[in-house]
Amino acid sequence: MASGGPPGRLRGELTEFVGRRAELALVRQALGTARLVTLIGPGGIGKTRLAIEAASSTRRAFGDGAWLAELGGLRDAALLVPEVARSLGLSDRSARWAVAGLSDYLAGRQVLLVLDQCEHLADACAVMADALLRGCPRLRIMATSRHVLGVAGEVTLTVPPMTVPDDCPSAAAGELLQYEAVRLFTDRATAVQPGFTLDAASGPAVAGVCRRLDGIPLAIELAAVRLRSLSPRQILSRLDSRFPLLSCGGPADQPHHRALQATLEWSYGLLTEAEQSMWRRVSVFVGSFDLDAAEAICAIDGVAPGEIVDLIDALVAKSILLRSGSGSARYRLLDTIGEFGLHKLRGLGNERRLRLQHFRWYAGLAARQEAFGRQRVPWIAALNTDHENLRAALEFALCEPSEAAAGAEMACDLWRYWETHGHLTEGRRILSAALDRLDQGATARPRTLWVAGYLALVQDDLPAARTLLETALTAARLARNASSLAYASTLLGLVRYGTGAAGEGRDIAEAALGLHRRSGDQIGEMLALSQIGYICLCSGEMSAAADRYRECARLAESTGNVWYETYARWGLGVVAWLLDNHDAAVVQVRAALRAAHDSGDQIGMALGLDTLGWIAASQHQRARALTMLAAADSGWAAIPAVLPAALREHHDSALDAARHVLPDSASRAALAHGSAMSTAEAIAFAIGDATQPPSRPDARQPGANAGPLTRREREVAALVARGLSNSQIAAELVISARTVETHVQHIMDKLGFRARAQIAAWSAGH
């Protein structure tokens, strides 16, 4: 499916881009000839801003857009490619070499990829860039780094300081405004003091400030916000008196670095003690954070949560913190400012305490465990927004022996997030690190093992999954951990099925179902039911599959579990389809599609679209089938993921059947139609209504539509209405009581009923 809106994603900036015409022209020129352009320079020199501006102004030249990957918050070089893929909106679902997956995606696309802040991951960025550029002929990369990456063909552009005027007290304001640094100061000054103008009185002092700050944009911005309380002359005077002291001791060959550090020290020194403390404290965040998190984490040592908002406000006003986010406010520190804050924090010794608070806050967010219900979408979105903080919290916990077990529990709590948001490799790596740190007898070990096994299973890494799950079983038995024993068994059943032992797999999963039921774990019960249903479905045991899926659907509905409702409904739909009950199949799969849409489950949506394509082909709706199959293909590719191998033949058969009959031109048109659809369009098309989303059976007017019932089901319904029992109906229709029971259940499923009396009432009206 094509994504909506213009292709690409670049960070929106709140302030005007000033100057840099010459540099912009150079970057554009370099991008016209070189495939890897690296902007190098020290922190605060404006590399990121220049890169984003250059990417924005050239994105039209890239048919598939310009995309920004912000790498400042990533510390683990091994996760570079998954992080870049995340920036492109791709999931990481495969155990395949991640570079190959990204390369496949980018191979046919004309993309400008902006890798921001590569310096701490320079080697990983270099080898990735080299591999991608070789495999993707239309790809161009623009990197920002404090150092050269050292890749063949790389063109480096050193970002210079902004131009500053010479010391000339008589220079007119108009003359001074020809210099970038003065224009930047004036622009930012106008923002903090709307009446500010550069004139004969202020001009020389502003020029002096810009010279004193070496034309470094970040330093100039920090100085300009001081106009709230100081005149330009006072700012210059304080810089003159403080700089010799502040700028000594830095590397002699890095004057710009020293000037920036001195400006940061100066800005820090002008804050109140409480503001200084707040700057240090918010430095533990990675990426952005919200007020709730700041209140929970930073309100220590006598600072009340209610005071936090004022302190944040003060830091925003002084450009230490930037506000981001158009809805609920979020805040972030520029990296250079954050590094400075961390440096100060380390010097004062309460870093560990703050990091512990930070970990506990995000562990709490993970522990909410709303992966299955109606709150799933906002919960997953909140986790995704705070992905960098989650990662930092986990890194902290796993490096602290006393917190390793809690870190492992947090990583386990995120199991559905890792899976559904496509962070499988990252999840597995973190769980692996957790296992390295847990004692053999640690309470958290069995769960950590089965969650790691689950993620390996989802990545189709069956050997690793089997090893982890078998180890989990042993650990769970030793620890008498009934829950982990049940989950590990359930998943091991699926691994056994995946390795060709379907019967054994089902037996193991059935036994696990009993364990879940005994421990009263309904999530585990639904997991086992859906997996047994799937094994039965793929093994041709339709009745058993339907039974398990039906049990799962009932439990999912009664507990508001949208996730399992999707797969239970899908399973019931496929069973109905395989039994040639196409109308019932459509009803169920549409319900599954709606549930998947409600929960933002991309896999469920692609699966639903695919399945409706199979059904449409069976109903001889060939163009419709091709359109849905193409939309499904795009859906799988956008994740990226593939239809499970066991289901592939249904897709291929439907495709062949439709194309065999339709003229080539009609086939091509139908496929192109599906490929070009957005997700919303594809779903609207699949449910047969371009404007209204489908109603789930439980949301419909019960029994409003008799269409889905087969002739035999209508007969059964009529007999139910006469008050006959299943045995009496069986005798009347000369079928088994079990078959009657199945028919009755189908009728209730299709009509959204929960009691036989409803069938009787419905039948009377039809």
Partner: protein, 106 residues
């Protein structure tokens, strides 16, 4: 390089399922480049040998390094975050065992 006596052999198995021929070539070039960069930064590591198992879509990569962390590091750089690093011994056909790489047996 560190003293030869400090170096050991390590084996890493890579899953090659779903990789095209150019991607396989890219994978090995990437591993080689990651080792070269680590070596240039002063890490005593060498990419000794690669054994392909085409029927099983996997390969075994042999590294010589001062410790498993170094081997893990280059695999991280080459984007194999889940690589399992195993210390191995190299045996000559006559049954003698060497812990060092093939070059060191000369």
């Amino acid at each position: 390089m560190a003293d030869a006596a400090d170096r050991r052999l390590y084996l890493v198995e890579h899953d090659l399922r779903g990789l095209s021929s150019p991607q396989l070539a890219s994978l090995h070039r990437t591993l080689g480049e990651a080792v070269r960069r680590a070596f240039c930064r002063g890490s005593p590591i060498r990419y000794v040998q690669r054994i392909d198992v085409p029927d099983e879509h996997r390969c075994l990569c042999l590294f010589e390094a001062a410790g498993p962390e170094m081997v893990r590091h280059v695999n991280d750089i080459a984007q194999f975050p889940l690589a399992r690093v195993v210390a191995v011994l190299s045996s000559a056909p006559d049954g003698s065992t060497e812990e060092r790489g093939p070059d060191d047996r000369r």
